[in-house]
Symmetry: C2
Subunit: 296 residues, 2 copies
């Protein structure tokens, strides 16, 4: 592929299918031009061949999907709504999947309600590196849900089920929890006190809430919702790449039923103090921050 | 360096020096939170070791500077104002310059009025790849200046001086023409009909205006402003990495003096038709699109 040919292809892709009323200028000029309502959310994440997937087993279509979905998951973790993305791709020399990758990125952008409005292409002597910046809008009434708002007495909840994501291939096809994040903010308002998405493992990511909030969190391993085929709480707590949302909630009567209806499970409580521990079913405790997956 | 140590260092950097009133949440949460006035400009560009610089000759401080300045130059080319940046870095294994790079990126972000509000770090088996997304605001009255607005009868102007950027090292220290872009929009309003920044060479980038606008452009080689040490118009037209602004202007009496005072030089005219040619001082013509630098 030549870069000029591929850029022409991208411009035609964008021209033939409108990107929506928010996107005044899409790919092909020096910048894209976008209308944003209220405060802007910004996040960037990279997907590196050999680190976050392996080109021998991951179809290029799902590589494109995962690259977008990871950054969209960060928007979901603030209870935000994704608006659009820009993608930078650094390809190996003679990379044969240029058109396929570009088509997949633009198609998944539309499918995930996060159209790709710009990008950059380069080559290097290495494997594919995709860098995806996603822009979003804050929840209109709750505002951004940070990691730092957990308070003693809150309950800890998690969406979906955990563990085995990399092994089963779910890390390539997970749904970013945008709808759930917004529904939680709608339902709870300021009682949704903190939130994070699980990328490095339930233990390690929940420990980040504890540290940012200056509180102690205790998780109950017996309560962890486990994905199909996951047989131990250690896998549920330590496998990364779940992209579920962990949040803390200042609870009221009725929350249990409402949060259960949204697909969440109660997995622990917030205390005064510091640190994050997991109580094993056998009674002993483990430092949650030690349970996680290091992508590097 | 461990990623955790470096992320802690980044969070402390951001915490000790406020990023400005527009940045509600900086590095360290799932997303940054920013206030934007009016329509948003978005651009992403990559800086690849071995493609856009060479680690043997470029100090890491200026590598960080160039990575930011290239994307800021895209904002300038729309007559916009940069607001903030996010940076993704993909480092070689055992990369020894992690802290130095992070410090330089944050310092240059502040110095270039474009604070770095978030990022991502990864490692790969290759040389350093930096991907920089810059967000900006449109000019309040003129709006975004696209490549597609040139009209027959307009004059073609360029800021600064051209050529030899890579050879002299200016590609590492060029000033993004933000002030000039805004001043042009202030002065000319809608008469500033199109604009682009020169990254791939004057010839090739001016040809992009011609193509996007559906017009013919003729450039006069004898008029090209040449950087110190540049001895031929071919270098001025064909060397890339100038990061000067080329614009088309629907001219009126008085513009020549005003544009000259802003440091611009008149280098050609816009006609009905298509294509972009350069008239050599000897009288023959060359296809401008053929004169440019291929980074790949």
């Amino acid at each position: 592929m030549s870069e000029a040919d591929l850029l022409g292809h991208i411009a035609r892709l964008a021209a033939t299918k409108p990107l929506g009323p928010r996107i005044e200028v899409g790919p092909g000029d020096d910048c894209a031009v976008v209308t944003i309502r209220g405060r802007l959310l910004v996040t960037v994440d990279q997907l590196v061949d050999g680190r976050h997937y392996d080109h021998g087993t991951a179809p290029i279509d799902l590589v494109a999907r995962k690259a977008l979905a990871r950054s969209i998951s960060d928007i979901a973790a603030m209870a935000g709504t994704p608006v659009c993305a820009v993608v930078a791709g650094c390809c190996p020399p003679g990379f044969p999947y240029g058109y396929e990758l570009v088509d997949a990125i633009h198609r998944w952008g539309r499918a995930l309600s996060c159209p790709v409005i710009g990008g950059d292409l380069a080559t290097h002597d290495g494997r594919l590196v995709l860098s995806v910046t996603v822009l979003g809008e804050c929840h209109a009434t709750r505002g951004p849900v940070l990691r730092s708002g957990a308070r003693a007495g809150d309950g800890v909840w998690v969406t979906g089920a955990l563990g085995g994501s990399y092994r089963t291939g779910r890390h390539l096809s997970f749904p970013p929890r945008v709808t759930e994040g917004i529904a939680l903010a709608d339902l709870l308002g300021d009682r949704l006190s903190s939130m994070i998405d699980v990328s490095d493992g339930l233990g390690r990511d929940t420990a980040r809430i504890a540290r940012a909030s200056g509180v102690r969190i205790a998780l109950d391993a017996a309560a962890f919702p486990m994905a199909l085929g996951v047989e131990s709480w250690e896998e549920a707590a330590g496998d990364g790449e779940d992209y579920e949302l962990v949040c803390t909630v200042t609870e009221r009567a009725g929350d249990a039923a409402a949060l259960g209806a949204l697909g969440l499970t109660r997995i622990g409580e917030v205390y005064a103090g510091e640190g994050c521990i997991i109580r094993a079913p056998e009674g002993w405790e483990v430092d949650a921050a030690s349970m996680g997956w290091d992508h590097r």
